[in-house]
Amino acid sequence: MRAARVVAATRNADRRWLARRRWARAGILYAIMLAIAVFMVGPFVYSAISSVKDDATGYPPSLLPDQLRVRNWNAAWRLARDGGGGGLTGEWRPERAIELDVTWLAADPDGEPLPSIPTAGLGTGRAAVAEAELAREVTNLREPVLVTTAATGAGTLLTYRFRLEHSGSVTAPELPFQVVAPRGWTFVEATLAPNLVRGGLFGRGTLQWVDLTAGTLGYVFRSYIQAWTLNRLPDGRAAFPRWVTNSFIVALVLVATRVVLASMAGYALARLDFPGRALIFGLVLFAQMVPGQVLFISNYLVLRDGIWGLTGFFGVPTLLGTLGGIIAPLVVGAAQVFIMKQFMEGIPREIEEAARIDGAGPWTTFTRVIMPLCGPAVGALVILSFQGAWNEFFWPLVVVGGEQAQYTLPIGLNFFKTFYTAGVGRWDLILAGSLISAIPVLVLFVVFQRSFIEGVSFTAVKG
């Protein structure tokens, strides 16, 4: 009996030992997978964080900029409400007053900070200067009041309260603000974190706020709002929304044409018998290998002449620089035909034969019988086509050239890159614009991730 108890005890110990191994293995697996996930998703998360920073190229890089601190969200809300507008996006309304506290560490407490409404160095472009001048006109700046003093080992902590009063009758959309401090004063903190902190140690330090009444959303997403509104086309309209519209038009049209035309061609190759079938299928396979660079010169020339003058009948002399030119060669491609053909071959022939017995011709069979069964393939095709068309870079680059109003988002972002890396650079705008352009495909992906992944796996298994 003692032997049985020993055996039972050993078996229990074995079971616990094995269970411990299983749990530990699962834990380590999760840890590894988590580490990989950080590596794969990290750059996106980090660029999103950095896209709201005042200075996206600050060194060392930080993971918690001012724009992501709750303290500043509350401050922006309060200041916007004081200014008379909503808490999310504020305005500077008549008969309103705003108070702002700023703290410095002063080696020498002599001197006074100097508040003003700046008209330069904040946003870019004439619109920003005009709005700043309006704010300056209607704002009355009171003398700064010393609120608290505290002596510390390194100097004196001075907190000043600044009061701004709206003394005009017009609502100002923005309220930029600037304070120049005496020499030797180091900025410590303020009610709302300033957007720009300059100098201080060896000269007179400057603090700038782009808009005191921005409100929480206006404060956090300043770079996104600027990316959307700042850049102007030659005719004065905002460029970014126009590029978004262009991308949507191109993507939606291409999805529609590709689904319809590739299904038709795929059905013929999958189910109909005709001379030249093998040849055309060989063409489909071959065409997927040829790079776009081999074809673009001729296609560019074909577009330039308006497809041998055909579009001239519609009053369009050339397709260069137009969305139609981007769309024309991409209307249906070998890859999509290949996907539809492979899927349709998997549909049992009996269904078709039954339709044929019932007297259906090829078109009726196609529309009434085959297409309703192609749901998964059409779904995958819609998603892959939208993603491909939305992200298309090379061909639109060739077609639109310098026609800014017809840029699609990728080309527009490339333009952003050239425009906003010159000089000091506005990487926050570039990152914000990039992330805005990634949103539609990301949304599509998150909602339809199953179809995305099925579409890709399908190519692998059947390809």
Binding site: L29, S47, Y267, L272, A287, L295, S298, P362, F394, W427
Partner: protein, 372 residues
């Protein structure tokens, strides 16, 4: 006149195929032939008609240093990126092929880099690879914390070794990487490293800030040797970008293939005494061979054509450090502030198509012959 059934079916088929054939005829067939024609002429896109040049373009193109650089860059890019991204995709797929709770969330997260467009990712990477950017910052921190990491690893290995030996002395079959023991070893190593750091026995190293100008330098890695093997550093940056973007797509393909491998094969191998590594070598790899060849072929084709990332970084990086065949074709056809050279561009494009064909044929010949 009644058409025969076969004739009617053929007519219907061509009706279905007509839009596709028209588009492919004009924008592929005609374009392809025209490019081949253009490679034998001098043409500058103006109203002046093309001038016949015979093989002149091909002869002069191989003497242009920029073309040879582009060729070298493209082939190096293709080989390195295809190898690394195929391996990475396979490893990721193996990691995801576990039936644990929440694996679908991980799969979504891993696929994210493949979803966004090349412009978004290239811009993010340009920003990360700046001289005072995040990559250099992380490298500096890694170099600074190296002594502590070394201490961590030393403690980890020692403790794990000791535990395994103790377990084996107790007649328990402990593998060298036994997970349960590994957890204890990791905890002890973390605690030990933190203690060493706090007591000052091991301090972070004093290192100069890593300042590599990833995208603006013309230096190469490896920095010496035959010029064919000296890949410019900006190109390495673009390679890492490309691998990070495309590996997830191939990972999904491998995952689909892995999930089709019957579990019984693994169980049979385990009964025969194979450990995890041997199981993967002798069961996994042979079973996914068709998908493996497909992934390699797709990888070769797409990396030979790399254009977007080069075009976007071309304003920042020196041209000879990033130029690829596809970009060479584009800049020859649309040079900024110079006369288009359609003949040269077309010749380069034909060469690109030929190189693609050669690579695919080689891959078919040597890698899939056994699959027949």
């Amino acid at each position: 006149m009644r058409l025969s059934i076969r004739a009617r079916e053929a007519l219907a088929a061509y009706g279905f195929l007509l839009p596709f054939l028209v588009v492919i005829g004009v924008f592929f067939g005609y374009a392809f032939l025209r490019t081949v024609y253009f490679s034998f002429v001098h043409y500058d896109l103006s109203l002046r008609p093309p001038v016949w040049a015979g093989f002149g373009n091909y002869l002069s193109i191989v003497e242009r240093p920029l073309f040879l650089l582009a060729l070298r860059n493209t082939i190096a890019f293709s080989i390195v990126v295809t190898t690394i991204q195929t391996t990475a995709a396979l490893l990721l797929a193996i990691a995801l092929n576990n039936r644990v709770v929440g694996v679908a969330a991980f799969r979504t997260a891993y696929y994210l880099p493949s979803v966004t467009s090349s412009i978004v990712i290239t811009l993010i990477f340009i920003w990360l690879f700046q001289r005072r950017g995040t990559v250099n910052y992380l490298l500096t921190e890694a170099a600074r914390l190296a002594p502590i990491m070394a201490a961590f690893l030393a403690i980890l290995v020692t403790v794990q070794l000791l535990q395994v030996l103790i377990e084996r002395a107790r007649r328990l079959p402990a593998a060298w990487t036994d997970p349960a023991l590994l957890v204890t070893s990791l905890l002890l190593a973390t605690g030990g490293a933190v203690a060493l750091d706090l007591t000052g026995l091991v301090t972070p190293a004093e290192v100069a800030t890593v300042d590599i100008p990833w995208l603006t330098t013309t230096s190469t890695f490896p920095s010496s040797g035959p010029s064919v093997t000296r890949v410019p550093i900006p190109l390495w940056a673009i390679m890492s970008l490309n691998i990070w973007t495309t590996a997830p797509t191939f990972m999904i393909m491998f995952l689909a293939a892995l999930q089709n491998v019957p579990r019984t094969l693994y169980e049979a191998a385990a009964i025969d005494g194979a450990d995890a590594l041997q199981q993967h070598l002798f069961v996994t790899l042979p079973s996914i061979r068709p998908v493996l060849f497909l992934v390699i072929a797709l990888g070769l084709i797409s990396t030979l054509q790399v254009f977007d990332q080069v075009a976007i970084t071309a304003g920042i990086a020196p041209l000879e450090a990033v130029v690829t065949l596809a970009y060479f074709v584009y800049t020859s056809a649309f040079p900024t502030g110079a006369i288009p050279q359609i003949g040269i561009a077309s010749a380069a494009a034909v060469i690109l198509a030929l190189v693609t064909g050669v690579f695919v044929l080689i891959q078919r010949r040597f890698l899939s012959s056994e699959a027949q």
